[in-house]
């Protein structure tokens, strides 16, 4: 339990009395942040007591800041509201007797299983906004259920395989629903779902030859990928393509060419990675970019010390992660940021090398050390003999060369206390509704933080690294793909023989 942080002993932003900003600002509501598609609101907010910052339309016309604090900016006001809510929750925890604490810190497995299982068979009309994301819905339910070690019944598994087969395009890749254009992100969701199901029927339903052709068609001349025919190019597209290709063992030089250089160009002056060159460093893209580069064995193209510093600073007084500098905490970044920084625990060799270079020539390594052009160490690797599937496999065999670089216990505290919803499911932050996206990524982040202090991939975490009762322990994942580790191994075996 992290006592230092909650209950108002806020260390970070402290956007309070010290501010000397000029103009009073209106407290304007920001529509909910993050990457996910708009979230339907199927459940009532369980903590809908305190005033919620205005409807998403952004109206809230005349809500002048508290007269006591007249000079706060929008960022400060929003931050303070969240800090206050979180502090209320932690205050209860710190004041509780120890057996009550233990109950408070419990993962409500049964409720989450119930919520997720229900969604697989019943979604209300409000979900029509996710009608082009149905393989995502499958993944957001099936993956957290696997994290909870919940076995689906065979009929349901077969039905999921059948449904995803209907989303598979005849020319390769998966669309957002039956008959929709194939899209890299939904392809990632579909393939990860099938890998998580893991049956022979599931794995063999993926048409790998056509998938490969689809991916080649999505490749831009820059080396980066576009999401779909005529679609947008960004780091998400590159990650989903590389992750899927690696997982089903179709990654080759042709697909890999130029992607690493594109991603390296998206690392910003802050240290994190943006969606495209020059945009703002962002947790989702930072995970995507780093994971893709590791799968390509090109992680040295990033300035890793700088990246680690940026991610480490995204964990805030609420104990969870924010997605960008000076934005609000959000449970889904438990995975995007938490997994990104956990990945670097296995990259110590490269990091040491980069630090050495930056000391000796007083220049950060990154670009200068390795060259972002396709020269230097890149061309050496680009021989056709490269066994790309091995990079994902070898990575997970490697031990963690250092302990967690983030506060793994604090993160678990945020997820368990601020993100869990009593009726089941998890959410962005107190005051928000649960949804399947956040359930998936909060639980993925919980798993990552529980295992972040183990040294090798086979051992179980010590009780002191699992906050709450030890029964909170989830299944471990392969953090580059975000599928449960056992399922990954089954798929790896299966696709190695193909």
């Amino acid at each position: 339990m992290v006592r230092l942080l909650g209950g108002g002993s806020a260390r970070r932003p402290q956007h309070t009395a010290r501010s000397r900003n000029r103009r009073p600002q209106q407290a304007r509501a920001q529509p909910s942040g993050g990457d996910p598609p708009p979230t339907p609101a199927p459940a009532a907010a369980p903590m809908a007591s305190s005033p919620q910052p205005a409807p998403p339309t952004g109206g809230d016309p005349a809500a002048p800041a508290d007269p006591e604090l007249p000079r706060l900016t929008v960022t400060q006001v929003e931050q303070m509201k969240v800090e206050a809510r979180v502090a209320d929750i932690y205050r209860v925890l710190f004041g509780a007797a120890s057996n009550t604490k233990s109950i408070m810190l419990e993962l409500w497995r049964d409720q989450h299983i119930e919520y997720l299982t229900h969604g697989l068979r019943h979604l209300g009309p409000a979900f029509h906004v996710l009608d082009a994301n149905r393989p995502w819905l499958c993944y957001w339910m099936v993956h957290p259920l696997a994290l909870l070690d919940e076995v689906l019944d065979d009929d349901l598994e077969d039905d999921i395989v059948d449904f995803l087969a209907r989303c598979q395009d005849k020319d390769g890749g998966y669309g957002g629903g039956p008959g929709q254009l194939p899209h890299l992100a939904t392809t990632y969701a579909a393939v990860n779902t099938l890998v998580t199901i893991g049956s022979e029927r599931a794995l063999s339903s993926i048409n790998r030859d056509n998938l490969y052709k689809f991916m080649l068609r999505m490749k831009d001349e820059s080396g980066a990928f576009r999401m779909h025919d005529g679609g947008e190019i960004d780091v998400r597209a590159s990650y989903t393509a590389i992750s899927v290709a690696s997982l089903v063992n179709i990654l080759d030089v042709e697909l890999a060419k130029g992607v690493g250089d594109y991603i390296a160009r998206c690392q910003t002056y802050e240290g994190g990675i943006a969606g495209e060159p020059h945009a703002e460093a962002h947790g989702g893209y930072t995970f995507c970019g780093l994971a893709a580069l590791i799968l390509l064995n090109e992680a040295e193209k990033l300035d890793l010390p700088c990246l680690i510093d940026w991610v480490a600073f995204r964990q805030g007084v609420e104990c969870g992660f924010q997605g960008r500098t000076n934005k609000l905490v959000d449970g889904c970044y438990s995975f995007w940021q938490g997994a990104a920084i956990a990945l670097t625990q296995k990259l110590v060799m490269i990091i040491d090398e980069q630090l050495k270079l930056s000391y000796s020539c007083k220049k950060p390594s990154g670009e200068d050390a390795c060259g972002t052009s396709s020269s230097g160490c890149t061309s050496e690797k680009s021989s056709s003999a490269v066994d790309y599937a091995k990079f994902g496999y070898d990575f997970i065999q490697r031990s963690n060369q250092v302990g967690p670089l983030f506060h793994n216990i604090a993160l678990q505290q945020y997820i368990l206390l601020c993100a869990q919803v009593l009726e089941g499911g998890l959410r962005d932050k107190p005051g928000k509704n649960r949804d399947h996206y956040h359930s998936c990524y909060c639980l993925s982040g919980l798993s990552v933080s529980q295992y972040s202090a183990t040294t090798d991939s086979d051992s179980c975490p010590l009780p002191q690294h699992v906050l709450g009762p030890y029964s909170n322990l989830l299944e471990p994942i392969h953090p580059l793909y975000n599928v449960v580790l056992d399922k990954y191994h089954t798929a790896y075996e299966f696709f190695s023989q193909e």
């Binding site: 082009a132 910003t268 600073f313 000391y359 007083k362 220049k363």
Partner: protein
Amino acid sequence: MEHAKSGPGSWPEMADVVPVPQDDGPSPVVPIAYRDDFREVMDYFRALYLAGERSPRALRLTAEAIEVNPGNYTVWHFRRLILEALDYDLLQEMNFVEKIAECNPKNYQIWHHKRWLAEKLGPDVANKEHEFTMKILALDAKNYHAWSHRQWVLQTLGGWESELQYCNQLLEEDIFNNSAWNQRYLVITRSPLLGGLMAMRDSEVHYTIEAILANPQNESPWRYLRGLYKGENNLLVADERISDVCLKVLKNDWSCVFALSLLLDLLRSGLQPSDELKATLEPIRNSNPEMADADLATAVCCTLQKCDPLRVNYWSWYKTTLSSQIS
């Protein structure tokens, strides 16, 4: 958009079209309980999409389908094919997409469509695009899609003239707006009108230091300051204003994490601490007997371990990299 959606049978112009229901199979998963109007629009859409009908009525139908779900990228894609086939007025299309964007400002498809249109329309629309993103950013100054679009327009179509001033304005409204700092970095490094980072660095360092001194707990300008010397640690160390700002802030608040962490980077990169700096850090050292003999960087790192408990693991690791540097 002209259709009155009053239930089934309200589509006279589709009288000859056989709707195509979604093929969810006998035992669907993640089934959405679609409302009738949604299902009807999509059934007609599937029919025309499968038939590849690129007609005015198909264009109208895509507008309906977009209205019920602007996240359906297949519909947007088909709409682009129709627009091309019909040689449709793209300025009018821009009005259409802007109306949708105002209600759905966080949707990938809409912004991608807008980029596609702007690319076809060329530099003439640059300023109009800037006005639009400004409008969206006035509602949410950190909208990621709007910023990406704005950056793309600047770099592809131009319109840099007042961009630095726009950044100034946004930062004046909210100095914590990291998106505006990021935009500022783009302008400083990429604007063809300002001469690039080298030309701008000096005044930017000045601006940033002012921002830090006004709000030392604001992380954005601290990161921006380092960014101004990205890849040139030697120059970062050589610019005395950088260590000075750390010193000034630490004199007021010796536990300011951002100041300590920048100072640590400076020391690691070879900063020779001035007597004044040593004197300022003396109380830190004295508070910790085991640090008495440690080098300054290690002492700062130990301080960070204490006053930044959330990052205690990070600073512990950082300390090990310092000792390996010495050995």
